[in-house]
Symmetry: C2
Subunit: 368 residues, 2 copies
DNA sequence: ACTTTCTTCTTGATCGATCCAGAAGAGTGG
DNA sequence: CCACTCTTCTGGATCGATCAAGAAGAAAGT
């Protein structure tokens, strides 16, 4: 006999949910047959299947309980993405949005869902990671890598870390930040620039704004910020210039407003830098704003090079010269590595970058 | 005796994972005690707990299996977000990104994760919804509402639908599209405009570009596109103008490029509209581009009003006059409704909008 | 008629945890 | 010494499904 259930979904939620067993009993079949009605249509006669599904519908049984199914099958049908910074930041920064988009596109193809994990501060790092029902992880973060990566590694699932040291027991995916940055700086040097300002992403992710903390950098194996800075210096060294020709400020939170202030300071120094190397396009946009504040023409008085090539880069005026990196492809490649993990040793992908010259760079004003 | 496990996480993954029972045996305690070591520190002596955790670490036991835990506790620790359009679109459109950001901020506070579901086409709608291990749903989509919403409703979980008819057995959250649109149009009418072009979001989400399909609109109870169009007409009617003063094009995919083309057509007609009502800021930006193509000055020759007030709206030149809607708050409010569902009847929130006048609107060129 | 195969359906075991009720032992007070 | 509470720990039942193996009956081949 069919268990009577309230007509509408509104009724008091306290009643126990309908289970596969209830359905089986109501339909007069075994649990397995009921299960097969949903999962293996070929395992029972179409007529019976239709009847079972109809009764299921009548009973308000939506389908097999996902949690139970996961437990039994061992598959979650989703992959997790961990942001080092706050979850909200992931939806603010254009680079991580593009990355997510790449991840999402692959998830869609695979029919999997995308679980985005919160990070409730260093103390509880790993809490969410430990408890996530997923088939694999993508780690996208810039700071305190070890805590997060260790938690992910402990799960023993196919995992990929973005911009992580290759010493981790998981696949990694990255760009060659150092040589990309070198290329950006070399471009400016080629245009005759000799005095540079650097807008750096914050090295430690601790909200610090101010002169670059070179001493702290030594501690960090590998962050985009450090690598890009080294790349800038490489180019200067190759041209026989001194480190002192490089004035660098860290800007917290990759924010345009903060960058504007920092750039203002850089550009108020004498002799004034003739070019600004920004470690992200958002920072570069901040530099453009500061140039406007100071009445400087870009690229007449000042050249600006960005990094990332986010959509905004070509929308802004003047369009930014910047280092293009394949943000979406980075996400897609990471997702692919999670869904089809390499057998044996982990892979370490390096994606190509390319300097895109637009309108924000020109000959140095004081060039001979 | 402690089961020996390979030193590194690299070893062949075929060995069965360590379970709570294994850990309990290794530590010489019961499963419950081992479980409590992770979940209820107050239920066992600190000394024993430390020992258990240490052994767990040694065995490579990362913590209780999330799937099993979910099944037993009945809680997933995450909420699901369903996009009607493709998953990728969710990370492309600025309005949905802002919405997600709002959702994410609340998730972060609640310590929950955010599961983003794929939609693999109308045929399989509900597949992912049925199988998602979540504690509630947020439905964010514009089209074929019923299929998705029915699948969500069947799950009998706390759910919120954005821009859905209130007939659904779930909470909804929305803005008053119609009166917001009316206000936008009234603003232009007040400036002396009498001939309007409308750039409409596609009514059916089927990739159609072309003249507005008014006949189709009648079929749809409630989509932003339809409501906004009605709002525009309300304003015209109130001013004694005819519907024929309103030329409308649907633009598929809320894309700037498509909008540019559509706006070009609108502006090539004679007599030329003096104002464009765009149903989104992206469409409005397309209109600005088309104006540039045609050598029209905004707001001198043409006024443009957007909708949404995405970040781009004030970054673009001229800054867009637009209808501000609280996108992030919309996401946050939706998430709050999922985490703390109203007892009894579902709630139906209407969030406030506000016309923000910036630089893209001015007096009609032919005004008396 | 006998074996074989195919279809259709069922039973028992299992996935890996948490919850509930209660046992064992230590400490307290009368 | 007994009754009581408190802490610490345990075993059995349970969450809701899927899987592997096999039974019952129909169809087909020899």
């Amino acid at each position: 006999m069919v268990t009577s259930v309230g007509q509408d979904g509104q009724s008091d939620g306290s009643q126990r949910a309908v289970t596969l067993l209830d359905l089986a009993r109501a339909a007069g079949v075994s649990r397995t047959t009921a299960s097969n009605a949903f999962n293996r249509p070929d395992q029972l006669s179409p007529k019976l299947r239709a009847r079972v599904l109809e009764i299921a519908d009548k009973m308000g049984y939506a389908g097999p309980n996902p949690m139970a199914r996961m437990l039994r099958t061992g598959r979650a049908g989703s992959i997790g993405v961990v942001f080092g910074k706050s979850l909200t930041y992931g939806f603010t920064d254009p680079t991580s949005i593009a990355f997510l988009k790449g991840v999402a596109s692959v998830c869609e193809k695979e029919g999997a869902s995308l679980l985005i994990l919160p990070e409730t501060g260093e103390a509880q790092v790993g809490n969410a990671i430990q408890g996530a029902a997923v088939d694999g992880f993508i780690v996208y973060c810039m700071h305190y890598l070890t805590a997060v990566n260790d938690a992910v590694a402990a799960r023993q699932l196919p995992s990929v870390a973005v911009s992580a040291p290759e010493t981790m027991p998981m696949s990694t995916i990255d760009i060659d930040d150092r040589s990309a940055a070198r290329e950006a700086a070399a471009h400016l040097i080629g245009l005759g620039h000799r005095r540079f300002g650097v807008l750096a992403l914050d090295v430690l992710g601790d909200g610090y704004d101010g002169p670059l903390r070179i001493d702290q950098m030594a501690k960090l194996e590998c962050t985009p910020s450090v690598d890009r800075y080294r790349g800038y210096r490489d180019a200067l060294a190759a041209a026989g210039l001194q480190d002192t020709d490089l004035q660098a400020f860290e800007v917290s939170g990759n924010s345009e407003d903060q960058a504007r202030k920092a750039a203002f300071k850089l550009l108020s120094q004498r002799p004034r830098p003739t070019a600004i190397l920004a470690m992200s396009d958002r920072l570069a946009v901040g530099a453009l704003l500061a140039a406007t504040d100071l009445g400087l023409d870009v690229p007449g008085d000042l050249s600006v090079v960005g990094f990332d090539d986010i959509p905004l880069a070509k929308a802004v005026t003047p369009a930014l010269t910047t280092v293009h990196q394949p943000l979406e492809e980075k996400g897609a490649a990471a997702a692919r590595l999670v869904f089809h993990p390499p057998k044996g040793r982990p892979r370490h992908l390096i994606l190509p970058t390319e300097l895109v010259v637009r309108d924000s760079t020109g000959l140095a004003p004081d060039a001979p």
